[in-house]
């Protein structure tokens, strides 16, 4: 539990600005979901037997969790590591770099859990689900997705020379995932080679879990998808730990 003071420090800072943070986190995905869902939904009609808005809800949930975890571990963690030297200060105490990164990882996942919960609350409020009991399974999906993208984010953070570097990650990794992983349409709409590429992306697996749960089915190959998310997340965390150690403690 040595990581807890690190998590707690981030929580206390976040709490000072919690209201605008929550609103900011919620507004963007909500606008996408409602704007595209109601607007495009008019022209698209039903997708797989459900209104487009209902289809879009699970994708928005996963995408919102991904974004929240990514922004936290890129911009905020980078500020703490590189600009404010918060990590250096902590490393002079009994805590180790492993404690720091575990705290950061779990903190970013906690923050993205909150983003996911906010979208889930909207899904519940607007009745964009088929079976309430199944939507409860979205909670572990949100947690796994948050851990996945927090781990990957910490890896990117560990090699970043400055804030501008993060544009590469967004342009080359995050944006393709948003457009190819099935947020806006079923991934089988893609040509085979592109679908195969999309299948390797972690967000695809988060949506493969979230969408059936929102639409009232038990996801097929749930363990596989969960395993892929966990694998990406822990590999990212391990690489991030290794590279940050080389960066700060050599």
């Amino acid at each position: 539990m040595h990581f807890f003071p690190v998590w707690h420090r981030n929580y206390l800072v976040w709490r000072k600005l919690a209201i605008p943070a929550i609103l900011g986190n919620l507004a963007d995905p909500l606008l996408y979901m409602l704007g595209l869902g109601y607007g495009l939904g008019q022209f698209l009609g039903d997708i797989g037997g459900v209104p487009y808005l209902n289809f879009l809800a699970a994708g928005t949930l996963a995408y919102s969790v991904m974004n929240s975890a990514t922004f936290e571990t890129l911009y905020s963690s980078f500020s703490r590591m590189h600009v404010q030297k918060t990590w250096d200060a902590i490393l002079n105490t009994p805590l180790s770099l492993t404690d720091v990164l575990l705290g950061e990882w779990l903190w970013a996942a906690s923050k993205s859990l909150l983003s996911g919960l906010a979208i889930l609350a909207v899904i519940w409020a607007l009745g964009l689900y088929a079976d309430f009991a199944l939507t409860l399974w979205l909670l572990p999906v949100i947690v796994l997705t948050g851990l996945c993208f927090s781990g990957l984010g910490l890896m990117v953070n560990s090699v970043a020379p400055n804030y501008d570097f993060f544009m590469y990650y967004f342009t080359l990794i995050i944006t393709p995932m948003v457009l190819l992983s099935g947020v806006f349409y079923p991934p089988d709409a893609l040509p085979g080679w592109l679908a195969a590429f999309a299948a390797a992306l972690p967000l695809t697996h988060a949506i493969e879990l979230a969408r059936p749960l929102a639409l009232g089915h038990v996801p097929s190959l749930a363990w596989l998808h969960g395993g892929v998310l966990l694998a990406y997340g822990s590999a990212g965390l391990a690489a991030g730990l290794h590279l940050t150690r080389r960066r700060l403690l050599r």
Binding site: P5, A89, P94, L249, R250
Partner: protein
């Protein structure tokens, strides 16, 4: 009481360069020990090795009896660190900075809260508990960093260039604080490249250059051992013509740009001669640590 820090034959290489090259050092409890050296001499690397933040290529480190870095968690629980760069939490107030730092040591919030008024008093920050960090001056930030380093009531306080970048008033306040710490029986290890700071604060100084300790002792002993007691600094238009006669009047001379440093036991002959030389000006002073430092590490720039 065992020595708070013992380094034995410590070596750390980066590529082909040995940044720390066989350093052995033992710090006595209750003393203020200074590591004095030019930029890039290996001071900060030595501190980071001692704290177990980086691993040595060779040698042995005992920090408060613990082998480092294996016993880092236990040892660092009893050490306070004042780093070179500001690492205060800008999102927290002064009080919150101390509370958060206490949590990293596993201290209970109530315990830390009770200690806050004393620490703020010590740092000359009483009444600033609820101030935000960006509103503090540079000197206040450094004093808060010092207070933060005392949150765990450490046996050893490690300070990396504690007064770099501070104005004279702020430096004196920090010095006062450090003297009060030694008066309370704390052991201090500090790096500095300010000679006056080392001379004022330190019981023992290790002069470090190119990763090696090249001299060690009390400031007085170092001056007595390495340098003549009186210095006459000479400058002026006719210096070039006169320079060759200098050794007729003193024991040792050093050129530095447009001035000449004459080192001697008895300054009267050289001063009498200089008073006859209209084209020369001079400054007479007792020898200090800076003279020792420059003699031992040379006058070349280090960057």
């Amino acid at each position: 009481m065992t020595a708070p820090l013992v380094l034995t034959n410590l070596t750390k290489r980066y590529g082909a360069t040995a940044v720390v090259d066989g350093v052995s050092l033992s710090i006595r409890a209750g003393q203020c020990h200074g590591l004095l050296g030019p930029n890039g001499a290996g001071k900060t690397t030595t501190l980071r090795l001692a704290l177990g933040l980086i691993a040595a290529d060779a040698g042995d480190i005992r920090l408060l009896g613990e082998p480092m870095p294996a016993g880092a968690r236990r040892a660092r629980a009893r050490v306070g660190v004042v780093p070179q760069t500001d690492s205060l939490d800008p999102d927290f107030t002064v009080r919150e900075n101390l509370l958060a730092y206490g949590r990293y040591f596993g201290l209970k919030p109530a315990e830390v809260e009770a200690r806050v008024p004393d620490l703020l008093d010590f740092a000359g920050l009483a009444g600033k508990a609820d101030a935000t960090v960006p509103s503090l001056s540079g000197g206040m930030k450094r004093r808060l960093t010092l207070a933060r380093a005392l949150i765990n009531d450490p046996d050893l306080v490690v300070l990396d260039e504690p007064t770099t970048g501070l104005d004279p008033q702020a430096r004196h306040l920090v010095w006062q604080g450090l003297r009060r710490l030694t008066a309370r029986g704390k052991t201090l290890l500090l790096t500095t490249h300010f000679m006056d700071e080392a001379e004022r604060l330190c019981d023992v100084i290790s002069i470090i250059d190119r990763g090696r300790i090249i001299a060690e002792g009390s400031p007085r002993a170092l001056i007595a051992e390495h340098i003549e007691p009186q210095v006459v600094e000479i400058f002026g238009d006719t210096l070039a013509d006169w320079r060759d006669c200098a050794l007729d009047y003193c024991q040792r001379c050093e050129r530095a740009g447009e001035s000449l440093f004459c080192y001697t036991g008895d300054p009267r002959p050289v001063i009498a001669e200089l008073d006859r030389q209209a084209g020369l000006r001079y400054l007479h002073r007792p020898a200090n640590l800076e003279d020792v430092f420059l003699k031992l590490t040379g006058r070349d720039l280090r960057d």
